[in-house]
Amino acid sequence: MSTLPSVLGVVDYYEPWWIQIVKSVVLFALGLQIVPIVLLGERKLLGRFQGRPGPNRVGPFGLLQPLADIGKLAFKADFRPRTSIGWLFAIAPIISILTAAAAFSLIPFGDTVDIFGTQVGLYGVDVSIGPLYLFAFGAVAFYGIMLGGWASGSKYSFLGAMRAAAQLISYEVSQGLALVGVVMTAGTLSLTEIVQAQEGMWYIVPQFVGFLIFLVAGFAETNRAPFDLVEADAELVGGYNTEYGGARFASYFFAEYLNILVVAGITTTVFLGGWMLPFGINPPTWVDPLVVLAKMMGFVFFFIWIRATPPRLRYDQLMSFGWKILLPLATLNALVTAIVVVLVDNGTI
């Protein structure tokens, strides 16, 4: 394992290999635990938003509903259409889930802490190129959707996958440019250092435009309403995952919700001060992950709220909104931030 630091680049401290394994397991388990909660929360909340009780039959208040869902999906037969391409059909959900989990490991839940005499960072990995790493895995995640839709051998799946391709390309640019402003202000690409740079003022204040752009593009990247043309159920049955069932469908589902958590986590980290609390409140270190989780859940609630509220965009509206409004706005934001940063550095302001 002595070569690992050279692979991971500049790491401030050296973590033993067993810590890294423990961290991976804990992070994956965390994601695996939150997703069913989010799932139940979404169905309950959507019910309330639409004036109905939501799932309330399985267990007390319907709390065991996700267990029933997962059990049902796990025991279903893995059906696949005769026109599909077997091996691609099988590996596509795996790509989706792998990249989502890899991106999840990027979210810092706290600073480095001392656990039984070992320095442990409360994050999966703190790479020196945080946002770029995120976008790299986002780029690979696209192949999970694209290959799934293409290999299904069904027109609905194919159209869903094509829409996903166009949508991802269009909104990835704006999302990246929105983060450029933050990176310039913080002067670092490491996510933990970005959080530390927000001591005193969270970036949601000076980078409010960037925050809005990032959030909107995040909706599009995770294929959530009102940008859910990828799986528009009224037109495409289910989009790229129409032909999937059983455990493979569950993997796609898991990856989708994990991606929502990733967007919520990155927004929290980059714009909402990560594990910091406002007004100079300085809680003990073990509270930090809970603070991050609470902020993330706030965003997840916002995602669900938005899903229940506006109607789906039309395809041309989606494209012109992405290219003609979001992209120029993001470019302008980056430009203005750059000018302000230079002026502040020179002492003009």
């Binding site: 190129i129 976008f135 094509m162 041309d316």
Partner: protein, 234 residues
């Protein structure tokens, strides 16, 4: 561990490159190229060039190959396999071209690229010699500094080239009638802030027809299915 990784990834890169040119189905060819590019990114990672690795994945695997895949999935299916075709002189020319490219690459690699072999990543010091404590070459700071100082002119020229390509693509699309007036729906921030039941001034005076006036004018075809037909044309 680094050695094992290197050989695994290098084998993957070679397999991807060979697959790209030898697979008959264009879709699999693109997939093989994606595999090749991802392996190259891993090789960059082994050289401690994280920024280059991430840029490789984001730009090539994420943007360029997505467009390739988009086009291939739409127009080129397995019904039209790519294979060796064309005249004898073309084939001969391609062999000559490949040989020239090989010689050129060999000159470049033997001339400069081998310097970094045997070092722990391409560290760049004042004397050009890599040392253990050196910050590695691939960090974003150093790349940014090089791009904005030593390689400013090539960097700007390259960006102008891309800009020209983009402008050219837009011009061609307009000339071929890819975008019609009226089919092009414009969204302004005002659409979100104005009360829902009201129209715009442009609709009132008729410079920007809404759905009903367009129907009256006999332009129904574009109004309802503007989005879908536009995508099918591409």
């Amino acid at each position: 561990m680094a050695e094992v990784l290197f050989f695994l990834v290098a084998a993957g890169a070679l397999a991807g490159a060979i697959g790209t040119v030898s697979v008959p189905n264009p879709f699999y060819s693109v997939l093989a190229l994606v595999c090749h590019l991802l392996c190259l990114a891993l090789l960059f990672l082994l050289l401690r060039a994280e920024f280059v690795a991430a840029a490789q994945v984001v730009v090539y695997a994420g943007a360029v190959m997505v467009l390739y895949m988009f086009v291939v999935a739409y127009v080129g299916g397995s019904e039209m396999p790519v294979g060796p075709q064309g005249s004898r002189s073309m084939r001969l020319g391609s062999i000559v071209f490949a040989a020239v490219l090989f010689v050129e690459l060999a000159i470049a690699i033997l001339g400069t690229g081998l310097k970094a072999l045997g070092t722990e990543g391409a560290g760049i010091g004042a004397d050009g010699v890599a040392r253990a404590g050196d910050s590695p070459y691939g960090t974003p700071e150093q790349i940014g500094e090089l791009l904005l100082t030593k390689f400013l002119l090539p960097f700007e020229i390259a960006s102008f080239l891309l800009l020209i390509a983009a402008v050219g693509a837009v011009t061609l699309a307009r000339r071929r009638g890819g975008l019609h007036d009226g089919e092009e729906q414009r969204i302004t921030p005002l659409d979100f802030v104005r009360p829902r039941s009201t129209g715009t001034m442009a609709e009132a005076v008729g410079t920007r027809p809404n759905a009903t006036t367009r129907e009256r004018a006999g332009l129904t075809s574009g109004a309802a299915s503007g989005g879908t037909t536009e995508t099918e044309d591409r």
